[in-house]
Structure formats: structure tokens, C-alpha cells
């Protein structure tokens, strides 16, 4: 594995591992803490997740591309880091903010530390932060840009730079995390499905592999290539950034809209938003997103606790006049959690049925996908 390509400047001076550091926000707020992980500076969109464990899954979730992750749970790294929990081959967050990180974890899962993990992938962290206060700031003011720095002298400069800096979602983050080549995997199953990789989590691959043979396509694969590959259905994965980014509209959205009517489709998270757009709807940016393992979703009068990680959502009103119907809603704020197509075998979930991290209550959606492929309808 390589160090992830750099958006960061490595500090030249030798610093102790407990060096004083700062989390700087574009609105001028500065939190003082101690840095850990890689000795470098970073910036990005500051977002928080309320999951109480599963930090490793979150760090390696490609959907966090471009973001500095704040863990609301104050003790992070307690059970160390284990190979089996990676959601991709690298850390994708640009930084990690915690109240306290664990230097000597519980040995149940091996004893690799989160500090070592961050160092290995060149990602800085900052601890000793009043993360609850930070979260209240984000909740009230909305998602902000921020930086982790050790340069006490240059704080003013950092704030100005953050204010000028474009939001990370303005670049095509999907291209940074999608696979580059088509690959296929025979699991000895009856059905072969396609996975459009916008930055897929390995949890999705795990749940697909358990049920299907899987062909994985880069995000910008045209529809005809997919159809010709002979797959019987397509899953559009999660991914980072803005689903209405021009590069995405030209590529994945186009593919999805071309596939409609040709193949059954299931969209997860970013994939759900792409289906919404492709069918004529639109998306908007949530004030501070849904990130955590406790989001209640109502579907068919039942409530499911779901794992979520998204900053954008499908605008319910934009679906008026389209062929999509909202069939799942967030119980807390009423936002769209899933749509189905009136006529075609297409459905989505804004949340993560593959969990990783989070509850597995909705993993049956993968079975629905299989049934939809077999029966031609949901």
C-alpha cells in the first residue's frame, strides 16, 4: 500500500509526538490540542459522526474523501486497528479529530494503534479537543472548512486560506477513489451483478459476494459496456462529494439514465442520489449531514435503525412529476431515505444496508436486489 497521494505539506521540523496543534475553522474558531498520527498539516471539510465505535471503518470509507472527521465519542482507538475492518485500502479522511485517542489499545484485536495507522497513511490527527463544543458549532453553523496545523504563528494566515479555499466537494472526488479497471469475481453464484464503483466500501462488496458473482466497473463506465458484460443487475455504490458535480453528471449519471429500462438497479447512498438525478430529480446539501449508526428510517410503516454517512440528499419535491416515488423517510427530519421507480425495477437506499460500521438491520435489501433481478420487479 502506498501513502495516499498528498494534499498535505509535511512539516520539516522534528516535533515530539505530543506536539501542540490547532484545529482551525474558517469562521476563525481555533481549538488547541495535541497532534498525533502523521506529522503534517491538513485541511478539508469538517464533519462529525456519532457512531460510538467503528472508527476504523469510517476512516477507510471512501465517502469521507476530502473531509476531516470528528468523532463525537470521546475515546477513540480503544480496540486498535485490524486488517479485517478496512472498508478500502487506505484512509480517506484528511484528518481525525478526537477528545482522546488510545495509545495502548485492548489486545483483543491485535495491538496496532490508531496513531500508527494514521502515520502509515500520512494522515494527521488532533486530540484533546472539546469535540462536543465543536459538534455544537457545526450543528448550529453548518459544515465548515477547517485545518489541522501546528503553526501557532500562522493561524491568521490559515484562517484566510481556509476562507479562500474551495470546498473539497467542488472537485471530482469520485475519480480519486473509484477503481480504474473493470474486474470480475466469480463466487459460484447463479446471478452476476455489476457494481459501479464510485468509491465503494468493502462492506458492499462483501454483501454482494455472498449472493452474486460481481463485475466491478469504474464510475465512468458507459452503459453499453455494462450491458454487454452480461450482468443481470447493477448496484451503484456510495462515494464522496457532490452528486451533481459536472464530471459526475457527464459520466455516472449518464450511465444510470441509459441503464434505466435495460437493467435492474439498486443505488446506495451516493448511488441513490445519482438515480434521483438521473430520473429527473435534484439533490441539495444538508446543513451538517447524517453521519452515524443510529438514524431511524421508516419504510412500510416499520422503523429501521440505519448506518449513514452523507452530506447531500435527494430533494423530495424535485421528484414531483418523475417516475420515482419516495418509499423510505428519515424519522428525525423527514429527508428522503429511499425511492422506488413506478414502473422499472429500480430502488435505492440513502443509508448503508451493508453497515460497516453500524447495525445490520437492513441487510435484507441485498436480498431484495436479488429478488428484483429474478422477478423483474421489487
Amino acid at each position: 500500500m502506498t501513502r495516499s497521494e498528498t494534499l498535505y505539506t509535511v512539516l520539516k521540523s522534528e516535533k515530539s509526538p505530543m506536539a501542540k496543534g490547532y484545529l482551525v475553522l474558517e469562521d476563525g474558531t481555533v481549538f488547541e490540542g495535541e497532534t498525533f498520527g502523521a506529522e503534517c498539516e491538513t485541511d478539508g471539510e469538517v464533519v462529525f459522526t456519532t457512531g460510538m465505535c467503528g472508527y476504523q471503518e469510517s476512516l477507510t470509507d471512501p465517502s469521507f474523501r476530502g473531509q476531516i472527521l470528528v468523532m463525537t465519542y470521546p475515546l477513540i482507538g480503544n480496540y486498535g486497528v485490524a486488517e479485517e475492518y478496512y472498508q478500502s485500502k487506505a484512509i480517506h479522511t484528511r484528518g481525525l479529530v478526537v477528545r482522546e485517542y488510545c495509545k495502548e489499545p485492548s489486545p483483543m484485536y491485535g495491538s496496532r494503534t490508531i496513531d500508527d495507522f494514521l502515520k502509515f497513511y500520512g494522515i494527521p490527527g488532533i486530540s484533546g479537543i472539546d469535540t462536543r463544543e465543536l459538534v455544537i458549532k457545526i450543528r448550529t453553523g453548518g459544515t465548515v472548512k477547517g485545518a489541522i496545523t501546528t503553526d501557532a504563528e500562522g493561524l491568521e494566515e490559515t484562517i484566510k486560506r481556509l476562507q479562500r479555499m474551495p470546498a473539497p466537494s467542488e472537485s471530482n472526488l469520485v475519480s480519486e477513489v473509484s477503481c480504474k479497471e473493470i474486474s470480475s469475481r466469480d463466487n459460484g453464484k447463479d446471478i452476476t451483478v455489476g457494481l459501479i464503483d464510485c468509491g465503494t466500501k468493502s462492506g458492499i462488496q462483501r454483501d454482494l459476494n455472498a449472493r452474486f458473482n460481481v463485475v466491478t466497473f469504474p464510475y465512468d463506465t458507459p452503459a453499453d459496456v455494462i450491458v454487454e458484460s452480461g450482468v443481470k443487475g447493477v448496484l451503484i455504490s456510495n462515494g464522496p462529494g457532490d452528486p451533481s458535480h459536472p464530471d459526475i453528471l457527464k459520466t455516472t449519471v449518464r450511465t444510470v439514465s441509459d441503464l434505466a429500462g435495460q437493467l435492474p438497479m439498486f443505488g446506495i447512498c451516493f448511488g441513490s442520489q445519482l438515480i434521483g438525478i438521473a430520473m429527473g430529480g435534484s439533490t441539495y446539501k444538508l446543513k451538517f449531514g447524517h453521519r452515524g449508526c443510529n438514524q431511524p428510517v421508516k419504510c412500510d410503516n416499520r422503523v429501521y435503525i440505519t448506518s449513514q454517512n452523507h452530506g447531500f440528499a435527494v430533494d423530495e419535491h424535485s421528484l414531483d412529476g418523475t417516475d420515482l416515488v419516495v418509499n423510505q423517510k428519515n424519522v428525525n427530519d423527514g429527508s428522503v431515505e429511499g425511492v422506488v421507480h413506478k414502473n422499472l425495477p429500480i430502488f435505492t437506499s440513502q443509508y448503508h444496508p451493508e453497515a460497516s460500521p453500524g447495525p445490520c438491520d437492513t441487510s435484507y435489501l441485498f436480498d431484495w436486489f436479488g429478488r428484483m433481478i429474478r422477478e423483474g420487479k421489487l
Binding site: 475515546l75 477528545r99 483483543m108 462536543r132
Partner: protein, 1069 residues
């Protein structure tokens, strides 16, 4: 969807016992409020008067009646109840419901169980059924066999293949009678005990998962099959130590998400399989070596753990479970914390919660302190911090066991090794000491079977101690405070005063902030007025400016001597403040209680009750007043220091001034005052050496009551009958010295003891109640059986008692409540003590009379007068209320059941009726004393008591009882015309003797008054202990025997009526 019911009943859990504490007052109260909100008519039944749920406004009808199936059925019929909530009153209520359902009684009454259904109860309680159910859904349980005999138990071990095995009795609470058997001999012993305790005479022999990790999940499910997890919890102590005895942290800290989800999914499968609608607790054993798990136990009801989970997350489990029980689904129930979302979500928390049990070993010095599968703790504390260390240190200093944190203990390496392997209540302190001595965390973790993660946290604390010892700089101070160190600990380590640490903190601006408990890790804006302190950026507690604010200092953990009564008083204090338009602020750390329900006060601070922590809250609140008289000794002890620290601020100590409180506490000042008032006191003196004590005792005349001057609440108090006993006492129980003298009082033999509770506003005095003890003076008033109003005192004596209360209250300038303890001998009244605070009997009196004394007390503190309430003087009532105490002897092997000046009871019940004997009988039944209506009675009394016991024996004989008696008593009774069967004393080594007859079931009641001389009390120990284990009622005084006879007559008449509290109070008015 809401279902229709004419009237719903909530059954409480009865008296506080080990394994069932205040948590069910909390859940039952929430349940009643929750039903009221929905417009249901409600009935509540509980035998425990010291509860908020038995307040007449909790339900439409409140009954304080014995919790027995037959009684409950009567109330159901009388009230026209058509639904009974089964899951709100612990194992007690669940057992009653299951009994009523099994017998077909419910069906006959046209009443259904609401919430947990009989089949769910059976599936979770019956081990075999539970195992079958789990096997059906593919969830692993330990290999086990249910057995009904010891022979079957041995067979079961063969199938399991190895020792040790666990022995768990079915249908008991708190693991009573269970144990771990390492060999066949132990198996026989534990099985014999377990079979006796089990309601269905069944025990489970089970594969041992000792040393595995223990995790708990709190699950909820509604009728629409929506399932959520409220909280998960990790036991620091491995399997083998009951979860009620373990230090517990929430959420789980050492589980990966994948393993957490495995257990979560399993917990959901379980609640679905049991078809529970409501809340349930699922316990897992988890093998850290390979990730295997076993399902250990399911509680299909709210529990101690669910109370903890409610307080740990802010999610009101009992309230929501109640709504689910009557048909609502989770998404139909609003989440009152955010005000915008619903109850269908899983709380996410952003802090560490720690629960630490509170054990009664300070009271029971002879008890085996080892922790195991049987609960011995009486209560618990909970603490919240942003780090583990912070929460732990706050929790430890909340315990009120004289420690300020991870205090030092003196131990050798051998003792450390022993303690780590065989834990007692001291283990965590020994672990820290081992680390201080240079033991490696690996070694400590390995021996104690703790996850090393937690041991390293202890090491962090130890390392910080070292840094503090090297010199106190602002940086180190800041770090130590962030780690949760108290000012006191820092002061101790640095050799300075606590006030200096406080001053340094303030000058460096190191002050705590208060963070909110909001169920959602700040994701949503919340309105919960529920806070904990930490050292961070910004405080979220925003007391309303311009509004008057009063802080009530709570009662801390439930322990012997300080029970739920004080929580009742604090809650009533809150209500009174709010009724007067004042913001009521509670500080407390007991997760079981109603006072720590965030719905009760205007702001709740979950904090230790030390001077530092209380002052911090007062300062943050900018409070106008503090009430220290309602939280029992915990809060009273803070009064003087608080007053000193608050000098020059706007905050006042409300009510009686600390100086006047001191007059009452200081023997010299108090004696002087009594002399001035012309009130008699038993002769007394203070001895600063054994010789002095001996001289005083001889002057006063034996027997004398002795106690050390420096402990309160009757600790180490004894009656001694001779110089030799005095010598033994001085040598073993206390160390007498210049600084620690012992106090010696004349012990008035056969005096009647009286408790009086009154309110004074500075001008007038209202005597709320006069209670006569059934036992002679010398039995701690917390243990005594009390009767309201007095049943033997002459009117003239009562008048005089009222006059004394009046004089003393005015002389002490009481503003609020006062309790008096008096002794009456030959119509002469002696003052024993005056307590210028809310007493243990306040709720009992308030329930018996309908006058809310605690509320009146607070309103008086705020400036109202008794005239405003039309209260003055004394008024008796037309019915009888009897308070009976409940004892933990069954759970604590090695404790003598004889009643002494040291309090031993954990809880109380009330029997109330127009007829004195019926009230007594109800109290006995409620307390679980199984008075026989036929069979044999064993009588052995001292010479003084012989004349008075004749009538008792005669009455029993007339009712058809066989009277067994020892030689002396037997001869005396025969001479007075009562035929007896003579038996031998134990030391005569001949048969028949009492012990043999007891074992054979021939003796069903024991009347034994020990002779008042040295050693006699100890001689009966074997018999008393056996009586405890065989649950044979045991009476140690003649008045107690007379009361028992009266009660037995009532029992035989089978004419027991039930009546609601309002009906009794109407009798008063």
C-alpha cells in the same frame, strides 16, 4: 395504536432489598406518569411507603398493601382493573403476575397482562424453556441442565464434563442462593441452598464461562416489531462476578463495531423470539480469546440495568416501555429530549458512564467480602466524564466510603495476588496499589481477568499522581483536573490544603464546565436539563437569570442507614420549591432514584456529593440557597463546610442554621440545652481511655450503650453488660484515644423507644407523627418495628412528648424538619437525640397521615409559616400504620440477625389498617415474614420475660400450635398451665433440640429473648442463622411476640380488607 383499558394497575417492587433497590420506584413512577399522560385511569400497589410512586397523586388510587397475589387480586376486583403492567416492579411484580396468570385468577377477573406476557416470562425465567428458545433461533447458551434434586445435579455435571460449574436457582432475585461449585462437595452444598430458595425448587447446573468478558444490551421492541438498542454496557469484572457487583462502563469500550453488531443482532433476535413488547435486558459472556459468545440471561422487564441505561443515555426506558405496553409504537412516541424527534432511535452518547456498586461491608464487619454470583451490594453510584479516568475518579468519590479517588491501601505482594484473583470490594484500590508498587499492567490484568485497557487507565492515574508529587504547576494541575482528580486528592499528594488547590485553580481559570446529557451526542438541539461536569471549553448549563434558584444536595448511593427515604424527601423538596416558583436544582449520583430522573427538577447535576463538586455546581448556578437537611447524613455532613465556603456570597444555607445543627450534634452543647429545658437524658459520659470509660460505665451502671465519637449513624455502637465486654469492645471495635474518645450512655432496659417527626417555622411547631417502637430501646430506630400512633403510651405521656418537641424545636431555632428519639420508662421521658433534618420516617408519616411533611418543611425554609398550612400542635389518626424493616441476612452469610444499636435493615414496608393487629399482620406479610397459622412454636425466654410470655404461649396453644420450649421456659409454662414439649439446648448435645426440629420443619416460629448478660446474645447465633436460612420468623422481644400472636389471629381469620390511601386520608380529614 393506543388500546383501550378501563383501568390499569402498576405493581411496585416492595421494600428495598439487596438486588432490588430504588430503581423500581423510578420505573413505576415513570410508568404511572406515562399512563396518566395518555389519559388512563391508574392504580398503584406497593408495600414500601418510602417511595414517590406511593404518593397519592402518582395514580388515581394508591394502595400500600402487601405484595401478595391474593391481595393484588382483591384490589383488581375492587377497582375494576382490566390491565396489569407486569414489567415495572422487578422480579417481585413479575412473579405475582405470573402467579395470577398461571392460577387463572386474571382470567376470572377479566383482566389481562399488559406488556410482558406470561409466555415471555416463562421463556426467560424457566432455564430449560429459555435454552430451547435460544437453540431454536440459533443463539448459543452455556451447556446446562435444569435439575430438581442434588442427584440430578451430579448427573448434569457428568454431561457438562468438567468443574467448575455454576449453580443458578430459578425464580429468585439478585442471584440469591446461587454459586460456583468447584467439586462435588461444593455442588451438594450450593444445590441444597439453591433448591430451597427457588420458588419452583429448580436450579440450573451450567458450563462455566468464568473469566469471559461480560456485556449487557438494553433492548426495546414494540407491537410492530420495531426493535432498538438503548445502550450497551461492559462489565469491568469478568464473568463470575454478578453484574450487580461489577464495575460497569457504558457504552462498551473494547468491542469492535463488528463484534458489537454481532451481539446487537443477537439481542434483537432474542427479544423477538421472546415476543416481548417493552424493554428487556440481555446479558452475554464473550470469550476474548476467540470471539465466541454465550447468552447468559434475559430479563423481560425493566431492571436495575435499564434504570442505569436510562440515566446513562437520557432515554426514559420505563416511560417508553409503558407506552409500548398499551399499544403505541416507537415512532408514535415523541422524544421529549429533543422535542422534535420520536422515540424510535438509538441513543448515541459522547461521554463515559461508570457504575460502581456500594457494599454494606462497613456495617457488617463479619461478612465475607468476596464478590461472586450472589449480590451483596445495597446500592450503586453512577458518574459521567469525558474520559474513563475522569468518570472513574468521580464515581469513586461518590461512593462515600471515605475515599477521594484511587486512594492508597496498605498491602503486601501476597495480599495483592490474593485480592486480584479473589476479588473483594477493595480490588480496584489494590490494583492501583499494585501498579504503584511497580507491578506490570499485564500481570495485574491477567490475574484479575480485566481487559488490560482498563488497567492501563488506572496506570494513567498512578502516573499522574507521580507527576503531581514532583511539583504542582498550572499545567499539571490542569491535566490532573481533566483526568478527574479531586482538589482533595491533589492537596493530599502535594501536601497542601484543599482550599489552596481551589484558589490556584480559580486563579488559573481551571473551572469545570457542564455538558448536557442529550441522547444524541449533540447532533440535535436538546432541552434536557441534565448535566455533568468536565474540564472543557464551554458550559451548556444556563440557569435562568433573575429567577430564584435553590440547590438540594441529594442522598447518594443507597446503603444501610441511608435508603430511599432521603431520595423521597429530596424529590418532595423539589416539588415544594417548584410550587413556590423557585427553580429546583438537584445534585445526586444515584442512578436508581426518582430524584435523578431529568424530568423531576429544573436542572439535574449528576455529580459526586463532595464539598468541591457541590460548590462548583452552586457557583455555576449562582444559587440563592442550598438545602442540606434532606439528603440524609451525606448532605448534613456538608452543611458546616458549605456555610464556611459560601461566606460572603449570596448563597445561603436554608432552614436550620449549621450552628444550631451543631448544637444538636455536639453532645456537650446538647446536654447543656436539655438541662436548661429541664428534659431528662440517660446518664452519659465521654471516656478518653479504657480506664476512664470503665470508671464512667461503673458510675452509670451497666448495661451501657457505647460508641465512638467520630462516626455517625450508629456505626460500631453496642450495648455492653460488663467490664469484660467493655474491654473487648475497646480492643476490637474501636481504638479509644485522646482524639477519639468513646461515648458512654446509660442503657435503659426495657424502655419504650419513641420517634417523633415535626416541623417548626421558628414560632410554631407541628408534630407530624409520634411512633412507638415495638422493640425495646437499644434496637436501632432504622430497624425497629414502629407503630403510628403509639399503642401503649398514656395520653399524659403523649401530651408531654408533644410539649418536649415544642420546646426543643424552638430552642434549636429549627426552620424545617426535626426528628426526636425518646425513650419512655415508667412513664418518664428521656431524650436520646434530636436530629435537625429530614429523617428516615418522614415518608412513612406522610403516607400514614396524608400530610406531606417534607414539602411543608421546605416551604417553611422559604419563609412560609405553619399557620399558612393550618398546621399546629399534634393530631392523631384513626387508623394504625406499622413500619416493619426488611433485613439482608439471607444474602449475607456470616451476619447475626439479632437486632442491635447498629442498623442492619435495607428497607421498610408499611402495614396500614383501622385495626391494630391487622396493620401489624399486613406489615409482617409485606416484609416477607411468613407467620405460621399452624404448626410448632419454639419458645425460650429469659427469666424477666417469663411472666409476660405465658399469655403468648397460652394464646398460641389455644390456636392449636405445639409449643416447644427449653427446660427453664418449659417448666415455667407448665407451672402456669401451658403444656409444652421440652427440648434440649444445643450445648446439651441431646435430641430433640431446636435445630433438628427446625430442619425437620416442626418449628415454624421462634420466640427467643436473649438474657441480658454477657455472651448470651452470641449463643443463639447458630439457631438464628439457621432460622434466616430456613426463613422461619424469629422474634426476640416479648412485645414482638405479642404482636406476632395478634397477627397470627388475623391471619387465621382470613378477613383481610384492602383500602386505598385516599380512603385512609379521608378518615383523617
Amino acid at each position: 395504536m393506543r388500546k383501550d383499558y378501563k383501568k390499569l394497575m402498576v405493581i411496585g417492587s416492595g421494600p428495598i432489598v439487596i438486588g432490588q433497590a430504588a430503581e423500581f420506584d423510578f420505573s413505576g413512577t415513570q410508568a404511572c406518569r406515562s399512563l396518566k399522560e395518555e389519559g388512563y385511569r391508574t392504580v398503584l400497589v406497593n408495600s414500601n411507603p418510602a417511595t414517590i410512586q406511593t404518593d397519592t397523586d402518582t395514580a388515581d388510587s394508591v394502595y400500600i398493601e402487601p405484595l401478595e397475589a391474593a391481595n393484588i387480586a382483591k384490589i383488581i376486583e375492587r377497582e375494576g382493573v382490566d390491565g396489569v403492567l407486569s414489567g415495572m416492579g422487578g422480579q417481585t411484580a413479575l412473579n405475582i403476575c405470573s402467579e395470577l396468570a398461571d392460577s387463572g385468577e386474571l382470567e376470572r377477573l377479566g383482566c389481562s397482562l399488559v406488556g410482558t406476557q406470561p409466555d415471555a416470562i416463562a421463556m426467560s425465567e424457566d432455564r430449560e424453556l429459555f435454552k430451547e428458545t435460544m437453540e431454536r433461533i440459533g443463539e448459543p447458551v452455556p451447556v446446562s441442565r435444569s435439575v430438581n434434586t442434588i442427584e440430578e445435579a451430579k448427573e448434569a455435571v457428568k454431561i457438562i464434563g468438567r468443574y467448575p460449574v455454576l449453580v443458578r436457582p430459578a425464580y429468585t432475585l439478585g442471584g440469591t442462593g446461587g454459586g460456583i461449585a468447584h467439586n462435588e462437595e461444593e455442588l451438594e452444598e450450593i444445590c441444597a441452598r439453591g433448591l430451597a430458595y427457588s420458588r419452583i425448587h429448580q436450579v440450573l447446573i451450567e458450563e462455566s464461562v468464568l473469566g469471559w468478558k461480560e456485556y449487557e444490551y438494553e433492548v426495546m421492541r414494540d407491537s410492530n416489531d420495531n426493535c432498538i438498542i438503548i445502550c450497551n454496557m461492559e462489565n469491568l469484572d469478568a464473568m463470575g462476578i454478578h453484574t450487580g457487583e461489577s464495575i460497569v462502563v457504558a457504552p462498551c469500550l473494547t468491542l469492535s463495531d463488528t463484534d458489537h453488531q454481532r451481539l446487537r443482532t443477537a439481542a434483537l433476535k432474542v427479544i423477538r423470539a421472546l415476543n416481548i413488547e417493552g424493554g428487556c435486558n440481555v446479558q452475554f459472556a464473550f470469550n476474548p480469546a476467540n470471539g465466541d459468545y454465550r447468552l447468559i440471561e434475559v430479563n423481560p422487564r425493566v431492571s436495575r440495568s435499564s434504570a442505569l441505561a436510562s440515566k446513562a443515555t437520557g432515554y426514559p426506558i420505563a416511560r417508553v416501555a409503558t407506552k409500548i405496553a398499551v399499544g403505541y409504537t416507537l415512532d408514535e412516541i415523541p422524544n421529549r429530549i429533543t422535542g422534535t424527534t420520536c422515540a424510535a432511535f438509538e441513543p448515541s452518547i459522547d461521554y463515559v458512564v461508570i457504575k460502581i456498586p456500594r457494599w454494606p461491608f462497613d456495617k457488617f464487619r463479619t461478612v465475607d467480602r468476596h464478590l461472586g454470583t450472589q449480590m451483596k451490594s445495597t446500592g450503586e453510584v453512577m458518574s459521567i466524564g469525558r474520559t474513563f479516568e475522569e468518570a472513574l475518579l468521580k464515581g469513586l468519590r461518590s461512593l462515600e466510603i471515605g475515599v477521594k479517588g484511587l486512594d492508597r491501601v496498605e498491602v503486601t505482594d501476597d495480599e495483592i495476588r490474593e485480592e486480584l484473583v479473589n476479588a473483594t470490594d477493595k480490588r480496584i484500590f489494590v490494583m492501583a496499589e499494585a501498579l504503584r508498587k511497580g507491578w506490570s499492567p499485564e500481570e495485574v490484568a491477567d490475574l484479575a481477568k480485566w481487559d488490560i485497557f482498563f488497567v492501563r487507565k488506572l496506570l494513567n492515574v498512578v502516573k499522574m499522581e507521580k507527576r503531581l508529587a514532583e511539583g504542582l504547576t498550572p499545567e499539571v494541575l490542569r491535566e490532573a483536573k481533566r483526568m478527574g482528580f479531586s482538589d482533595e486528592t491533589i492537596a493530599d499528594i502535594c501536601g497542601i490544603h484543599q482550599q489552596d488547590v481551589r484558589a490556584m485553580r480559580k486563579s488559573e481559570d481551571i473551572v469545570p464546565v457542564y455538558k448536557m446529557v442529550d441522547t444524541c451526542a449533540a447532533e440535535f438541539e436538546a432541552q434536557t436539563p441534565y448535566f455533568y461536569s468536565t474540564y472543557g471549553h464551554r458550559s451548556e448549563a444556563k440557569p435562568e437569570e433573575g429567577k430564584k434558584k435553590v440547590v438540594i444536595v441529594g442522598g447518594g448511593p443507597i446503603r444501610i442507614g441511608q435508603g430511599i427515604e432521603f431520595d423521597y424527601c429530596c424529590v418532595h423538596g423539589v416539588m415544594a420549591l417548584q410550587e413556590e416558583g423557585v427553580d429546583a436544582v438537584i445534585i445526586n449520583n444515584n442512578p436508581e432514584t426518582v430524584s435523578t430522573d431529568y424530568d423531576i427538577s429544573d436542572r439535574l447535576y449528576f455529580e459526586p456529593l463532595t464539598l468541591e463538586d457541590v460548590l462548583n455546581v452552586i457557583e455555576s448556578e449562582d444559587a440563592d440557597g442550598v438545602i442540606c437537611q434532606y439528603g440524609g447524613q451525606t448532605s448534613v455532613n456538608l452543611a458546616v463546610d458549605l456555610e464556611r465556603s459560601l461566606k460572603g456570597t449570596k448563597t445561603r444555607i436554608l432552614g436550620t442554621t449549621p450552628d444550631d445543627m451543631d448544637v444538636a450534634e455536639d453532645r456537650r452543647r446538647f446536654s447543656k440545652l436539655m438541662d436548661e429545658l429541664g428534659i431528662k437524658q440517660p446518664k452519659s459520659g465521654t471516656g478518653y481511655s479504657f480506664e476512664e470509660a470503665k470508671a464512667i460505665a461503673e458510675d452509670i451502671g451497666y448495661p451501657v450503650l457505647v460508641r465512638p465519637s467520630y462516626v455517625l449513624g450508629g456505626r460500631a455502637m453496642e450495648i455492653v453488660y460488663s467490664t469484660e465486654e467493655l474491654k473487648t469492645y475497646v480492643d476490637t471495635a474501636v481504638k479509644v484515644s485522646r482524639n477519639h474518645p468513646i461515648l458512654i450512655d446509660k442503657y435503659l432496659t426495657e424502655a419504650t423507644e419513641i420517634d417523633v417527626d415535626c416541623v417548626c417555622d421558628g414560632t410554631d411547631v407541628y408534630v407530624g407523627g409520634i411512633m412507638e417502637h415495638v422493640e425495646y430501646a437499644g434496637c436501632h430506630s432504622g430497624d425497629a418495628t414502629m407503630v403510628l400512633p403509639p399503642f401503649t403510651l398514656k395520653p399524659k405521656v403523649i401530651e408531654e412528648i408533644v410539649a418536649i418537641a415544642d420546646k426543643v424545636a424552638l430552642a434549636l431555632h429549627i426552620k424545617g424538619l426535626m426528628n426526636l428519639q425518646l425513650a419512655v420508662k415508667d412513664d418518664e421521658i428521656y431524650m436520646i437525640e434530636a436530629n435537625p433534618r429530614a429523617s428516615r420516617t418522614v415518608p412513612f408519616i406522610s403516607k400514614a397521615t396524608g400530610i406531606p411533611l417534607a414539602k411543608v418543611g421546605v416551604k417553611v425554609m422559604l419563609g412560609k409559616t405553619l399557620k399558612d398550612f393550618g398546621l399546629k400542635g399534634y393530631r392523631s389518626i384513626d387508623h394504625y400504620a406499622v413500619k416493619e424493616s426488611v433485613f439482608p441476612f439471607l444474602k449475607l452469610p456470616g451476619v447475626d440477625s439479632i437486632l442491635t444499636p447498629e442498623m442492619k435493615s435495607t428497607g421498610e414496608v408499611m402495614g396500614i389498617d383501622e385495626d391494630f393487629h391487622t396493620a401489624c399482620y399486613k406489615a409482617q406479610v409485606a416484609a416477607g415474614n411468613k407467620l405460621p397459622t399452624e404448626g410448632g412454636v419454639y419458645i425460650t425466654v429469659n427469666d424477666q420475660d417469663k411472666p409476660r410470655i405465658v399469655q403468648v404461649a397460652r394464646d398460641l396453644k389455644e390456636m392449636g400450635f405445639t409449643i416447644y420450649a427449653t427446660k427453664g421456659t418449659s417448666t415455667f409454662l407448665r407451672e402456669h398451665g401451658v403444656e409444652t414439649v421440652p427440648v434440649f439446648r444445643l450445648d446439651e448435645n441431646q435430641k430433640p433440640n431446636a435445630v433438628g426440629l427446625m430442619r425437620d420443619g416442626d418449628i415454624n416460629l421462634i420466640i427467643n429473648t436473649p438474657s441480658l448478660k454477657s455472651g448470651a446474645v452470641r449463643d443463639g447465633y447458630t439457631m438464628r442463622r439457621l432460622a434466616v436460612e430456613l426463613e422461619i420468623p424469629y422474634v426476640t422481644t416479648v412485645p414482638g411476640a405479642e404482636m406476632a400472636v395478634g397477627s397470627i389471629k388475623v391471619a387465621r381469620s382470613e378477613k383481610l380488607s384492602v383500602r386505598s390511601m385516599k380512603e385512609f386520608h379521608n378518615l383523617v380529614n
